[in-house]
């Protein structure tokens, strides 16, 4: 489809013609991205949809292979849409599409808008999806200057990325006087799961809400799980012993399950009293875990 026919069809009053055009967008030049960006902001919902879908199709057409011919041009075109010249919904859509295909070289252009209150959430989303160290470093850099209420969002992104480079930043966040940041730090730290140089210090329970206490315990259990997988059984066991003494049955169950996976003589010794626990769920979980160890 030639360029003029394509653009005319995208603006057609006939929905089927618009559809036929957007389906072919993978074969048109990325140089049309600015025009599509303008059309995407159109007040005519049919035209706007067709332009949005055309941008999406164009993105998918270069998504499979990072080395595909037009990938750099499409990425640059999408990055260029993230400017004040385009409507906010178009900028947001462009960032979401950028997250599908962008490589490390796109990170500076994406990251520059992280402080924009209308786009910060979308920028973090986009960085979270771009593989490689550059996006992690951009998130860590942004953390330093971020508003207090936005720091937990950045920590969540680093946790989601399992960013080992961010462990020190997370352990530092866990010591924050701001409980939201401290818990967000613990959650990210646990999801990353890497052992820090010094033993981790999870936020103290005092002053935490019930929900935050639950998230703290979950973070400890996730960290223990990661240590067990990494072969650091002693670190895992130290946490499971704490969990085993908690009143909540599900925390005891989690400890029993975790200890069972360690399958050591010490683990068996810790499980034994739980076989007669007065709490039904704990008792059954211990019995099953015991059987699992015995049959292993």
């Amino acid at each position: 489809m030639d360029t003029q026919t394509f653009l005319t069809s995208i603006q057609s009053s006939d929905a089927d013609k618009r559809f036929a055009a957007w389906r072919e967008a993978g074969s048109v030049s990325p140089s049309l991205i600015p025009q599509l960006g303008k059309l995407a902001g159109s007040a005519d919902p049919g035209q706007s949809k067709a332009a949005i879908e055309a941008l999406t199709t164009m993105t998918h057409s270069v998504g499979k292979d990072p080395k595909s011919a037009n990938r750099a041009a499409v990425t640059q075109g999408l990055l260029d849409l993230n400017s004040a010249a385009f409507a906010l919904p178009v900028r947001i859509h462009a960032l979401r599409l950028t997250s599908n295909i962008a490589g490390e070289d796109a990170v500076p252009a994406v990251a520059k808008e992280i402080g924009n209150p209308d786009l910060g959430e979308e920028v973090v989303y986009c960085l979270e999806r771009i593989p490689g160290n550059a996006s992690i470093q951009a998130l860590m850099n942004a953390y330093k200057d971020a508003a207090e209420d936005f720091k937990p969002r950045i920590l969540a992104a680093l946790g989601h990325r399992r960013a080992a480079a961010a462990v020190a930043l997370c352990t530092d966040a866990m010591r924050s006087a701001n409980k939201e940041i401290a818990i967000a730090g613990a959650k990210a730290f646990a999801r990353i799961g890497s052992k820090p140089a010094a033993p981790p210090s999870f936020p103290p329970e005092a002053g935490l809400s019930d929900w935050q206490k639950m998230e703290r315990m979950d973070s400890m259990l996730r960290y223990a799980e990661a240590q067990a997988k990494a072969g650091n059984a002693a670190d895992a066991m130290a946490i499971y012993k704490v969990a085993l003494e908690q009143a909540q049955e599900h925390v005891q169950c989690a400890a029993i399950i975790g200890i069972g996976k360690l399958a050591t003589a010490e683990a068996a010794g810790l499980l034994l009293p739980k076989l007669k626990s007065p709490i039904r769920n704990v008792r059954i979980t211990a019995q099953k875990t015991w059987k699992g160890i015995a049959s292993a």
């Binding site: 919902p45 959430e121 969002r153 969540a156 019930d210 007065p278 769920n281």
Partner: protein, 452 residues
Amino acid sequence: MSASTKRNRRNFLKKTAAAGGVFLFDIVPARVVGQQGQPAPSDTINFGHIGIGGRGRGFLRPEANLGKQVPASTNLGGDGSRMLRPARSMALCDVDSGRLDQAASLVGGRPKLYKDFRRLLEDKDVDAVYIASPDHWHALQTILACQAGKDVYVEKPACNTIEEGRAMVAATERYGRVVQVGSQGRSQTAAWHANNYIKAGRLGRVRKVTCWHYASPDGDWTPDAEPPPGLDYDMWVGPARWLPYNVKHTHGAFRWLIDFGGGQIRDRGAHVMSIANWIMDSDNPGPVSIKATGEPPHDGMYNSAVTMEVTYEFKNPDWTLVWAQPGIPSATLDARYGAVYWGDSGNISVTLGDGAGTSTDQKARDFAAQCDCGKAFRSPGHSENFEDCIRSREKPIMHMEAAHRVASLCVIGNVGFQLQRPLEWDAVNERFRNDEEANRLLSRPGRGPWHL
């Protein structure tokens, strides 16, 4: 009896039993702790309900029924012979206060009402939760419920991304929780008949299963608007990407957007393909390739498939699963959707698999009546199976791993549809081979405070 009185009595009994070296649930008869004609508190399951609009209402337990013999709903499978276990809908949660009030009236008594599900999960009197929120909330609410120590019945589809499903499995296993996913076809009698018929080899070897389903709506252009008072719309969107409020994408209509619902393949696919995976013993690990074709709406505000055909190839054993909307309906049964199982020596159909019930061909029903050859576990009903497992701590029939694998079919089918190219699937590692963009679509960053 107040909640605190009840708790104190429970604690006293537990302490007394423990001090004597015995276990309360094992030996104390219900009549000892229950009032005359009433179930014992120790036998009564206290449910919390998160999402109590259309589907969620079906799980409510009216207070007036407590202590009465009420047959279990066949909507959730079983043969109707089971009486409901004593249970109470003691806490209700919805982001829409209008729905909350309606549900409270239906339940009667004085249920605790919440607009924020976290407060319900903190409630230590709640033993287990029914989650019937929109699909984009299923994963996170299930994970958080496990963290809070609740057993969970969550509606299907289990998840919206592969990463979500895997995180749900991990949370279930980490805390040793019972999680049942609401693909109730596996608990329905006709599916069980078909399963036994096929497993007995009556069709020879089954090499193909073809699903059919009517096409999705095209949608229209309804202007965005301010959310109605009483609806916490930011909470409704939760972990999904932000979209301005529109009456045509909230509540039941969320399905037609990929980000929230994902169309028919994720809705009914999680029923029809759940039965297929069960019958074909293919819960684990999954297909090796996916090819999806079809069209989204040409106009209007929705973006999930109107028509689609997704072909999944499985290996060892080799068989093909096709999800098609509209597809070719059964020649023997009249139903809006279902699947035909094609064997070397014949075929049978299994329809629906949801709340409308399931049917199968007469020959499979006759076979079940004639022989004592039930190889498959027969669920007493989906809720009943869930409640049995709350007691036994066994895995329910639609346990989290199986549900994740079924939802995975829906998710990767939609990824193939969105990208409009064939995909190779490494089901063990849950990654696509040689497709970077497709792999990025297997997870989705959260939003605001909502993250896996």
